[in-house]
Symmetry: none
Subunit: 204 residues, 4 copies
DNA sequence: CATGAATGAGGATTCATTCAT
DNA sequence: GATGAATGAATCCTCATTCAT
């Protein structure tokens, strides 16, 4: 997979990753603005200047990070759905995939939750546009499964968009609360509750 | 209630409100950091210096604003519940109350959505602590109704905390999407869908 | 002339002048790039931040300075010519005016001499364009007198543009040398030599 | 003369020249400060590190370049004079030699014109001192011819220093203007005008 | 009280120079 | 010797906060 890269290139790639990883922590804790290049560099154990060997600007670090993460999320979601042809099972998998991903990417979740509303700003930026697009595409994916399930009469005849919004809202809400209360126990454990509530509702 | 205030005091209060109102717009658009006192002052039609007559710092403007808004939300929620003794109806009212509030307080919603994760930062701050407390208290309120409904066997025997998280997640998600897509049509119209999904689930 | 300005406005104007004056010294000594905003601020006895109350950027300080100076030079040259209708006398006056101006504006001369070649860079800039234009207009002014004298048959039938270039070259050269050797004695004293050489040439 | 150099030494010398040549272009376009070692290295088709094998610092590149060029100019001027024993003819040759040199060394002219005023800075520097010395020596050379011509009564009894300043000023001015207007036609063509104006003056 | 100019700490970014490979 | 990534000092600019008027 990566055996055509020279040693130097492999080092560069690893350094890039280290910077992104450090940035992820800092952005999660402080948000885009309050995060400083100083802190990112320090946490990545690089000089401040080195960041600029790998990225053009602080914004580019941020957007690259988001792009990679949103990309992984999107991929994971797609895969979780494709495993089965049964829409209901697909949605169950999708819930699990989400929780698994957020459990492994707490920091990304925090960043996304707080910065998403501002992705639209500075729309001229190529990376920002791409990010928006990827995010939309991830939402459409979820909507797609919903539609399939509705068409199959396995779900009520509700606008698939609304179904997607509802499910994602629940997932995000549980994840946020899990992080707020320390993120100790496994987030995955909540999968049955969410599944049950989404499909069967709360009424007894 | 406030008719014992001197003219001067009434003016001060009005000015405070004007500043908070201006701040709300700016914080919503730009977030806490990117918002500048310059812009807040300008939009409030005050000098930059005047802000500091009414508030100790930019942070205090922010926190005061949030406190007032979270306070109103909390109050509104409490009232929506008290109207009825029937828990199910209470939850329906609570959904409507939320949507109504967010429809009237789009800016606040945006701010809350993006800054909530960082309320905990700098916890020594009196205002921050109070804000956290108020926010928790609002959540407890929702949880309370859920518990009543569960006890009444009107809802499934699920941890009321989970029920609250699920419902709030759905509400926030719909609100966020509504804002993202322009916030034109009435958010209130979504109340039936949310109610139906929360109580009855998605399964057909 | 300035009696319609409020006190505050007069202070602002004076501060602006103080900054420009400090900048003039620093730019003359170090050139545009090596000059630092720190040093300009310090020499103007202002904080670094204050510069930005009066100017948008270091470049704007530089260009504003140049604009004012080139403007004064242009004005002085025009006036020196208009005094008389006799072209020869006009040129004599023009030489004197130049020397007088450069003697009083040593720093400006140094800046102009070294930065002129790069005025063209970044041509999108409004101020830069204006500066170029002003500079051209000053050259045209000199050319104009030359043409008048040629038309009058008081000067040889040489391209007035060449005459202007030659005279200005001599003036600049003498000024540069005068500054290089300390600028002690009066530059004005060189007026007769320049006049003589320009009109009569070196041949004995 | 240089046939005793080993291959290695010849390569080093060639590399040095390539770097200086690249530096000349960059310094001419951007000036000393705005020129970056990155760009010089790139244009010389060397790595940035290689520059430091051949030169101790960016400043040394600059000064070495100037030294070589000023040296060539000086040499060319000396030769142009020595050809003849007739001072008038010597000056004519000198004008032509200047124009020829600047036509072939546009970049150097631009650099010299804008950086000369700052050669004095950091006078402790050995290279800087040498450069100043060489420049003075070039001026003295011109002054020498003038003195000879004055002694010969072929030129008016004017301080030879002034005569040198005047002539050089004219030459520089014409060169600068030629470059500013694109440097298309031959600069050499201006030789007769300069000669005529210098010797005979402008008066008709 | 209101004003808005002044302050200065802080932050992103650049770039000459060094040095491990 | 050559390379180019890493360094970190230096620099421009921003903006919350203060304070004289």
């Amino acid at each position: 997979m990566k055996n055509t890269l020279s040693r130097r290139e492999r080092v560069k790639l690893a350094n890039r990753k280290a910077i992104l990883s450090a940035a992820e922590e800092v952005f999660a804790q402080k948000g885009f603005y309050a995060a400083t290049t100083d802190e990112i560099a320090e946490r990545a154990e690089f000089s401040k200047g080195a960041l600029y060997t790998y990225f053009r600007s602080k914004e580019e670090i941020f957007l690259s990070l988001m792009r990679e993460k949103v990309g992984s999320l999107e991929k994971k979601i797609k895969e979780s759905i494709k495993v089965t042809l049964n829409p209901i099972e697909g949605i169950e998998n999708l819930i699990k995939a989400h929780l698994e991903f957020f459990e492994e990417n707490k920091e990304f979740f925090q960043i996304m939750a707080s910065e998403r509303g501002r992705f639209e700003m500075g729309i001229k930026n190529r990376l920002r546009r791409e990010l928006m697009r990827r995010f939309q595409s991830y939402l459409k994916e979820v909507e797609g499964v919903m539609k399939a399930a509705v068409d199959n009469k396995e779900l009520k005849a509700i606008d698939p968009n609304h179904l997607a919004i509802a499910l994602i809202g629940m997932i995000h809400s549980f994840t946020a609360q899990w992080i707020l209360t320390g993120g100790e126990s496994s987030l995955m454990e909540l999968s049955p509750v969410i599944t049950m509530l989404f499909f069967g509702g709360a009424k007894g």
